[in-house]
């Protein structure tokens, strides 16, 4: 089955937009129904292509936010003001519209239960999207792998999936936010950018050999992954995904 999946042809398809969910002021989840979907693995992404009336095309990659077990395929997109694609996806797209996409894509930044743990997820901003798919997948398969998410956001209002993450935080699921710019009154959580000291406090010790997934803007990923290696974590157990302007 894995072999079949590898040889699958990757072709563009028109997916119908069935719902749009506002996650924060600048982030929206797009629920889509591709005509055929081979299934995906938690952490994979799709390519989205927009075509202007004059034929000009722009293409970007977006992480899949839903678990393979979920009823619908969901993409979560952050609007970047100077972006070419995201302002349309977040501001203009309506239910019933069609979105041209291809996927699922990616085999490196993927978590499945057989890979085990303990699982350490480190998110910067909308880097939480593929990690959310992993959390949902872990929950859907009733995995007992311990998981810890460290999620850096500018403010509580910028935390994507806030209610879902807070509700998920029980037993083997440890969810921690660090708010880098603004904190609500009485905030007792972390209040600074992710650095070596914060990771030393939050990450499992290197002796526990955690499997680490880091996703965020390039600078964030460099700092987080570099600090973990400095702390003695095995680089071979750290998987990274960087994103840039879109």
């Amino acid at each position: 089955m894995e072999r079949t999946a590898l040889r699958r042809r990757l072709s563009w398809t028109q997916a119908r937009v069935v719902d749009l969910l506002d996650e924060t002021a600048s982030v929206r989840s797009i629920v889509v129904e591709p005509p055929e979907w081979p299934g995906h693995r938690a952490g994979q992404h799709v390519d989205v292509r927009l075509t202007a009336e004059d034929g000009y095309q722009a293409q970007r990659s977006y992480s899949i936010a839903s678990a393979p077990e979920d009823d619908h395929l969901v993409l979560t997109v952050e609007r970047l003001e100077d972006g070419e694609v995201s302002p349309y996806l977040v501001g203009e797209l309506r239910p019933g519209d069609e979105l041209e996409l291809r996927g699922p894509i990616g085999g490196y930044f993927v978590w499945e239960e057989s890979l085990g743990g303990p699982l350490l997820l480190i998110a910067g901003g909308s880097g939480v999207v593929p990690l959310r798919a992993m959390l949902r997948h872990r929950s859907a398969v009733a995995s007992v792998v311990p998981v810890r998410l460290l999620y850096s956001a500018r403010s509580l209002a910028d935390v994507i999936y806030r209610d879902e993450l807070m509700q998920a935080a029980t037993g083997l699921v440890d969810i921690r936010f660090t708010l880098t710019r603004a904190r609500p009154e009485g905030w007792t959580g972390y209040d600074r950018r992710i650095d070596r000291e914060l990771l030393a406090e939050v990450a499992w010790p290197p002796d526990d050999d955690p499997l680490v997934y880091v996703c965020g803007p390039t600078g964030f990923v460099e700092t987080a992954a570099g600090s973990l290696v400095d702390l003695g974590h095995d680089p071979g157990r750290i998987r990274t995904e960087r994103f840039g302007p879109s």
Partner: protein, 84 residues
């Protein structure tokens, strides 16, 4: 200019090689560093895509699309695994 990583060109590589390539191993022809394609540094802001070794910064791959044809230069790689 900040670089991305090999995950960003997963779709293009799939199109070119007919297989998922981000988890494939590769070896830099310049310094010999071995890593996964997903871990290479990728610059997509130019007229083409430039892929560099994360250890020595040597150019290991370039992808340029002209009129629907993608030209791929892999001379910077000593080895590229094909997961078939």
């Amino acid at each position: 200019m900040e670089g991305l990583d090999g995950n960003a060109i997963a779709g293009s590589l799939y199109e070119i090689f007919g297989a998922e390539m981000t988890d494939a191993a590769c070896v830099c022809a310049h310094c010999g560093a071995e890593r996964r394609v997903a871990e290479l540094t990728v610059y997509m802001r130019g007229p083409g895509t430039v892929v560099r070794c994360r250890s020595c910064e040597a150019m290991v791959m370039t992808l340029v699309e002209i009129r629907g044809i993608t030209c791929v230069d892999l001379r910077g790689l000593a080895m590229l695994e094909h997961p078939s």
